[in-house]
């Protein structure tokens, strides 16, 4: 590192408040440099400012500040602008058809500066307001009786937060390790037969209408297969993909009886 740069470094450091991170972002740093050099914001000496900016960036990197990322993008922008101002124009008397390359940056700086001023005005409002003291809740709680149920503002965030709260609770709820609710296939067959005895036939879907769980669906289907095997029911389908209907069979001689069935 050259000595002049070293000097510049020190002058920057001297300028800085105790915390180097006082510059919240690249725009703040640029505004600081513009003010320090007492240059016109509408006519930024881009070479000078870019050099000082890069010096500061190097300092930040040496100090291992985490926030370098935002500053790097601006460094690239500055170098780009600088290179454009250095490019020879075909006719120096003619204005650059693309305009002053600094223009967009100047606008951003002004915009940024304006919002910094707005923030200060807000802060003043806040101070004025904080001089107005409100009646403490305790006073009214005594009048109304017990404190009313705390309520929250209803907006998208609070909705999301509430849902997250519910999920957190679900996670923390002790998991009761019950075995999956298994209806024995025999019981299920009895239930289905009882239902079929009240109607002549029923649709395939109807068999599952009182089932709410996956195991329940599986058991019902297994029961159906078993009933077909045991020739307790007959199943008809009207054409390919047509509705499937289930009929209860009258007892068939020679067929194994349900009661006699052995279930492994």
């Amino acid at each position: 590192m050259a000595d002049p740069q070293q000097l510049e470094f020190e002058s920057i450091v001297n300028d800085l408040p105790v915390r180097v991170a006082a510059f919240e972002g690249p725009l703040d740093l640029l505004l600081h440099l513009i003010k320090k050099n007492e240059v016109n914001i509408y006519d930024i000496p881009i070479a000078l400012i870019t050099q000082q900016y890069l010096d500061y960036l190097e300092l930040m990197t040496e100090l291992n500040l985490d926030t370098v990322g935002d500053f790097l993008v601006m460094a690239a922008t500055l170098i780009h602008i600088k290179s454009r101002t250095l490019l020879p124009r075909p006719d120096p008397a003619q204005e650059d058809p693309e305009g002053d390359p600094r223009e967009a940056l100047i606008r951003r700086l002004l915009e940024h500066q304006k919002f910094k001023a707005a923030a200060e005005l807000l802060h003043e409002k806040e101070i004025q307001r904080s001089a107005q003291w409100q009646r403490p809740d305790e006073v009214i709680n005594r009048v109304v009786g017990e404190a009313p149920e705390p309520e929250v503002e209803v907006d998208l965030f609070s909705l999301m937060a509430a849902f997250r709260q519910v999920l957190e609770r679900v996670k923390q709820r002790p998991t009761v390790m019950l075995p999956p609710e298994q209806i024995p296939i025999e019981t299920r067959i009895e239930q289905l037969l009882a239902r079929l005895s009240t109607t002549e036939a029923c649709g395939f879907e109807d068999l599952f209408e009182d089932v709410q769980t996956k195991p329940g669906v599986v058991v019902t289907f297994l029961a159906l297969l078993e009933m077909i095997r045991l020739k307790l029911i007959r199943v008809f389908q009207q054409g390919n993909f047509g509705p499937i209907r289930i009929y209860k069979r009258e007892h068939v001689d020679g067929a194994p009886t349900f009661q006699g069935m052995t279930h492994e």
Binding site: V144, V154, M160, A162, R173, K214
Partner: protein, 210 residues
């Protein structure tokens, strides 16, 4: 000090506890005791005018409160003020319905771990939810969903606009362990859209039986 009376009024007004004479004398330590007492007396006389507020002496101190004859109005205020806000229970229920709709009361109770019957009425009254049908299971319970007013209220175009939980974590710095989902926590995230919900509901039931 000419401002003694208004200063004492401001102090009594802003204090969460009744302000004792002793406390006033301490706060206004440059003022003679007689002056402070005289100012208090004058202030109390001011409050004898027929107004909405009164100065009462409680617990050895002074306090500005509403006049007793208007307490009914004050209670009404607390009863009515809930138009913009919801209790935590109501908001949670609303969140479950928004993310899981269509969903039945037993399903909501299962997810929240508490009964929500009363809260559902409140939400229907506020037009934030409505009955969207009946579930074809035993008991044929009502299924609830959110309303157009709900979308308007939350600035959403449609229900798929609801932020996903992934958005939440990124946005709020919430740490949600999406990596190793347990059955209970994994499910809700997948069902933000109404289209999925039929399947999801079945899964919830499945879940609850474990």
């Amino acid at each position: 000090m000419s401002d003694l009376k208004p200063i004492i009024e401001a102090l009594i007004f802003a204090s969460p506890e009744p302000v004792t004479l002793k406390a006033l004398l301490k706060l206004l330590d440059t003022e003679p005791k007689e002056d402070v007492e005289a100012a208090i007396a004058a202030l109390r006389q001011d409050y004898d005018r027929p107004g909405g507020l009164q100065i009462v002496e409680v617990a050895g101190g002074f306090q500005i409160v509403t006049r007793s004859e208007f307490h009914e109005w004050v209670r009404r205020l607390f009863h009515e003020r809930t138009t913009q806000k919801l209790s935590v229970a109501a908001l949670e229920t609303l969140a479950v319905i928004a993310y899981r709709q269509p969903v039945t009361a037993p399903e909501i109770a299962e997810i929240r771990g508490v009964n929500t019957a009363g809260v559902l009425g409140t939400l229907v009254d506020r037009k934030l939810i409505k009955i969207v049908g009946r579930k074809q299971v035993v008991g044929r319970p009502f299924m609830y969903g959110t309303t157009r007013e709900f979308l308007e209220r939350f600035g959403l175009n449609d229900i798929t606009d609801l932020p996903k939980v992934e958005d939440m974590s990124e946005l709020m710095g919430f740490d949600i362990p999406l990596g190793e989902p347990t059955p209970q926590t994994a499910l809700p995230f997948e069902s933000a859209s109404v289209e999925d919900s039929g399947e999801t509901l079945a899964d919830v039931d499945n879940d609850s039986s474990q």
